[in-house]
Symmetry: C2
Subunit: 350 residues, 2 copies
């Protein structure tokens, strides 16, 4: 989910004459669409500062809510399917906002002619993912459009959770010296989807990392709640885009030690071959967090102790300058500016 | 929204080999899909008994939530557009559950190539409808699919509200002798959409009734909260389907005096010409309610006093028999069984 923000300088205008794939890719074009068109129209005083969920006051409770659409192609891929993504992705948007998902609703748009067995498999995938993460699917909606008017099935999931309250997450709480933590190897999901389409003469033993990141979040909140400043699940646009959003919002810099970023050989190889930066590739089960330096090793140990978090690493640190910039530091001491995703090299990965 | 219910007799199985348009039409086929396939897979103890919203406990508050997808074609039509429907429809699902909408999230699936001006017009329609009904749009999501992979734009809206609490709505609270109230002429929306497609050589001065029904609900809750047993906004499947759902859930009968059902001449004429039953045609701004007989006239006066409710009428009453049946009583004293919608005579009306 993208919270609708006002442009910081009030100056962004969306002047593209039509919608292109890049506007849905989660990178720069997506931000221009949201900041330059959607947010100014929807502007209202309740717009929330958090990035992945909105906190809504209802009868004295602080209810965390999030909404996400899923249009991944193909529907099934090694390690998961649209059904699992639709549950885990929404659970994760709440988790990185410090809220444990509680209840989901699932709204389906189905193409006439969709085999019932395909639908059944995805409903079962959703139910399985919901059971594994301890959330209930309590309602939803089904619309059917003519054959050719949508691509098999689209899923939109709405999540409700309760704010944990142990940590105060805020990009403005991030300080120079804080450390950047990632829960494991990046890029598995995006490259898995790319390979699953079969357009490339590439094969690799790779699976999507789709899963709930709540266990990682819970470990951090249990171990060092006051050290956790900011969290994100780096989906569309990858780690680079998430960190660029953070430096924009905090006004600080991040120095990323590129050799510390966990990366499977298969993902590295595919990215080199295709000219992609793994930092721009989507993940669907990794946690990216900024934690206070004093607690960084404890935080790392806590995430590594969680099943699936064995590959966690501290990959960089927050600095004062260059302001609003993510800098990659190569193994040889060189530096490069790591930008947000531009364009859409991998459409419809979630 | 459809709440996922277990089949009453546990016996319904969905055996259709593929999804057809009728499964999205809100009538019998939709119920078979939900009861025979979706509900058994998602089954969990939190499944709610209400029909249009789920009540989720969060931190001691009773949060009303609902989800609905919108795929109406054409996007714009006399009296409204997909943007207004996406706000009003979700506000209405909460309203008829006795909850005032508070916050919306909007998830968009856009087709690459969609002119920005089309998107802008719908965002403005959403913002306008939200402002008119006093709800804030606090977040959302945008996905883009290739040209040809969806039909211009689909919208899914999630609504959060607070349960009003003044009335205890429950189909099982309905009693023989209760009266059926409708807030105004039926069928305007469905027939407007049909005419807007231009496939027929018909023209009429007709507009969609899309609007929030909360003012009607608020009037009832203010005037006679304890008299209100059940409410519904009769969208897909129309008044006939909504009342059939009520008799199924309550085990009672409803006798509908057909000449009392408010109906514009244009809707009557189009239905006669096309062989459609106006009771099966969708509405997007009418309230259907069952109220205690003793308060029925006060309830009617309260709804009639609301702007837009001047055409409200008492159209029937609840009876003991024939159980689980809606009976139409014609002006000449004849009777007919009024069934749920079967098939999908008007696809994609919302």
């Amino acid at each position: 989910m993208t919270i609708l923000e006002r442009a910081a300088n009030g100056a962004i205008r969306f002047t593209d004459p039509q919608i292109e794939m890049a506007h849905g890719a989660g990178g720069k074009a997506s931000r221009r669409l949201v900041e330059g068109l959607i947010a100014p129209i929807f502007a209202n005083p309740i717009l929330a500062p958090l990035a992945d969920a909105a906190i809504v006051p209802v009868d004295g409770a602080r209810v965390a809510t999030t909404a996400d659409g899923y249009v991944v192609r193909p529907l099934r891929f090694p390690g998961g399917s649209i059904g699992e993504l639709a549950v885990n992705g929404t659970v994760n948007d709440l988790a990185v906002s410090g809220a444990r998902a509680h209840t989901l609703m699932v709204s389906l748009i189905l193409e006439a002619g969709l085999p019932t067995e395909v639908l059944r498999a995805e409903l079962e995938a959703m139910a399985g993912a919901a059971a594994r993460t301890g959330v209930a699917i309590v309602g939803g909606d089904t619309k059917v459009v003519e054959h050719g008017s949508c691509d098999a099935m689209f899923v939109t999931t709405f999540g409700v959770g309760a704010l944990d309250g142990r940590s105060a997450l805020d990009p403005r709480a991030v300080r120079a010296g804080d450390r950047v933590l990632v829960s494991g190897p990046i890029g598995d999901h995006g490259i898995t989807i790319l390979l699953a389409r079969g357009d490339l003469e590439l094969e690799a033993e790779l699976r999507s990392d789709t899963r709930s990141v709540w266990p990682f979040v819970a470990a951090l909140l249990e171990t060092c709640p006051h050290a956790v400043r900011w969290m994100r699940d780096p989906t569309r646009g990858g780690v680079a885009t998430a960190l660029n959003e953070l430096v924009r919002e905090s006004g600080l810099a991040i120095a990323l030690r590129e050799e510390e970023v966990p990366l499977r050989a298969e993902v590295r190889g595919a990215c080199e071959l295709l000219g992609l930066d793994p930092l721009h590739i989507a993940n669907e089960g990794q946690l990216l967090a900024v934690v206070a330096a004093a607690d960084a090793e404890r935080a790392l140990a806590a995430v590594r102790a969680v099943v699936g978090g064995e590959g966690a690493a501290l990959i960089g640190e927050v600095r004062e300058a260059p302001a609003r910039t993510v800098v990659g530091i190569t193994p040889y001491g060189g530096t490069r500016v790591i930008d947000m995703l531009v364009g859409d090299p991998l459409p419809r990965i979630c």
